[in-house]
């Protein structure tokens, strides 16, 4: 009997612990200084870390961001433990339907995936779509393959085995890369497809952008894909990729930004890979912040909701976007920023729009 009482007590204590952690968000909302919590994609993290900090020092709202991956960001929003989540891949219609309430997407910044390689003395490697398909499907296995040579006259390509390095962890970077591959190659689309992690035909995995970049820089003859913000900051050798207009484009802030110049749907859910713009770098994409359209849930205070949308409105403003280049991201083109602002104005509290 005594043992049973003890067990009940233990359960009660454990239960109380988990309850209090759930309510944390609600309690914080009542205090005068609002704290916003967010979690999700690691790809925009350097940018978020910088602008979140600047926002706090300028406006006083405390912000915390946990880089736990896009999947984690979506889960956290589903569990309602964050004020907003962040993801590199937009939620599909199916996923949107699974969420407990209507969710809106706010594009925050543009990034790209670059093809990095390690061939000492070989700069400005040009890779056509056909070459990308053959290298990443494992059909071309040596750097001196005639097909690569024909595309790169004047480059001294060595007799060296090609080592493909991909991500071993699930990643939005992989998603953008594979989305592009799916668009340019039917063979890839049939055999591999699009996803945050894949069944790779060849190659080896390394963890995170630093892992892939480290393995490539340590391994002569290696090729792989890396998030542009990381590659630009580290000055890694990158290949020129052919866009849909047939031009070979070097990844840069300008060419990445150009990818978003085309028509963007009202809900901004679009993959920008293989953009029509002749100046655009073809493996580019948005990263999004996701939040509930109706902000009055789980007993959230109106202050909390207002702070959330006010901050996001600032995040897509010229003020914040102007800082993107400092950490090697491409700012949103004006048209995309306008769309984001319009979406934020549709976010409500008790049915009333929070922003005017």
């Amino acid at each position: 009997m005594k043992n049973l009482a003890l067990l009940v007590l233990t359960v009660f204590i454990l239960g109380a612990c988990s309850n209090s952690s759930n309510k944390q968000g609600g309690e914080k909302a009542g205090t005068s200084k609002v704290t916003l919590t967010a979690a999700g994609a690691t790809f925009p993290m350097p940018y978020y870390n910088m602008v979140f900090k600047n926002y706090t020092s300028e406006f006083g709202t405390l912000l915390t961001y946990g880089g736990i991956g896009s999947g984690g960001g979506i889960r956290s929003l589903t569990d309602k433990v964050v004020d907003f989540g962040a993801t590199d891949a937009y939620l599909s219609d199916d996923k949107l339907a699974e969420m407990p309430a209507e969710v809106v997407h706010i594009p925050t910044v543009l990034g790209a995936v670059v093809i990095a390689y390690n061939l000492p003395g070989v700069d400005g490697l040009k890779l056509s779509n056909e070459l990308l398909e053959k290298i990443f499907m494992g059909e071309i296995t040596n750097w001196n393959d005639p097909a690569i040579k024909a595309n790169n006259e004047g480059l001294a390509l060595p007799d060296m085995e090609i080592t493909f390095v991909h991500r071993s962890d699930g990643s939005g970077t992989t998603y953008i890369f594979s989305d592009y591959m799916t668009k340019i190659s039917t063979k890839w689309a049939d055999a591999v497809g699009t996803g945050k992690s894949l069944q790779w035909p060849v190659g080896m995995g390394a963890k995170g952008n630093p892992g892939v970049a480290g393995t490539i820089s340590q391994t002569e003859g290696a090729i792989g894909y890396i998030g542009s913000e990381y590659a630009f900051a580290q000055k890694i050798q990158t290949a020129l990729v052919q866009n849909s207009a047939g031009n070979y484009i070097e990844p840069s802030i300008a060419s990445v930004s150009a990818a978003a110049k085309g028509e963007i749907p009202a809900d901004t859910r679009i993959m920008l890979t293989n953009s029509d713009d002749p100046e655009s770098y073809p493996i580019s994409g948005f990263t999004w912040i996701i939040l509930y359209k109706e902000q009055n849930y789980d007993g959230r205070a109106k202050d909390q909701a207002l702070a959330t949308v006010t901050f996001l409105d600032w995040l897509v403003s010229a003020d914040a976007q102007g800082q993107a280049e400092k950490v090697h991201y491409a700012p949103l083109p004006d048209a995309a920023a306008e769309k984001a602002k319009a979406i934020l104005r549709s976010v409500t509290f008790d049915g009333q729009p929070l922003l005017k």
Partner: protein, 302 residues
Amino acid sequence: MKLGKLPAKQFSQLLKVHQMNSDKITKGVLLLSSFVILFVAGGMIFSLVEGAIPALKSFGLSFIWSNNWNPTEGKENYGALPFIAGTIITSVAALLISLPLSFSVSLFLGEYYRGTRIAKILGPMVDLLAGIPSIVYGLWGFYVLRPLLIDLGLPNQGFGIFTASIILAIMIIPYATSLSNEIITMVPNELKEAAYSLGATRSEVIFNVVVPSARSGIIAGYILSFGRALGETMAVTMLIGNANIVPDGFFSTGNTMASVIANQFGEADGLKLSSLIAIGLLLFLMTGIINAIGKFIIKRMG
């Protein structure tokens, strides 16, 4: 009030009450903490099983021997064989590589050079190996061992099962060594002296007296280190190549159970998350079975 001035009867009563209280408190605390452990362990098993159910429902038991790992939406199909194979191959190989090394070191420390200055330096050094964080082993493997193996002509740029096994072997040496060393030192001198007095040589004494009487402890040490190799994550992830395939050779790339979970759970959801949890459950069962086998062997030999 001084205790010495109390009547003897009262004093003993006070003592009794006091003793009873502290006894009760100790008992309560012990009971509570054991219950907490039990509760946590039970909760872990429960959540593992609960999380693994969707995957096991979709794929059935063939999850264990299917070698398909396709996370692409629409074609999702998961099987644990590549990771089970990778885990067992690397751990067994690590055990085999470490066996001669740790056995000689423990004989060196516990018998041949017992109590000498060199043993006093070497012993703590071996223990120190156990304290090195696994990420440091991984870094060393990545930047030192791997280039060495590339120079020796290893395929896959030095990544793979073989490289991972070598690192694992180095990591588990201190576990096997320390325990065997302790046990070898504990073999009674009378036994050894009796053998010597019968005219046995030193190696005869070691292999006919010391090793047999220390055998259950030595085996326990190896089982402990095998368990450690099974669950090692970070260093393996950095060196095994993380290719989700059943390795087709000792130099092939591969992946292990712990490594795939660490790599992929961050972005996983739905069926994939459930499959990763199922792999965690299998790893848990595997370690449990190996521990049980170890206990059984020790019991039979002891």
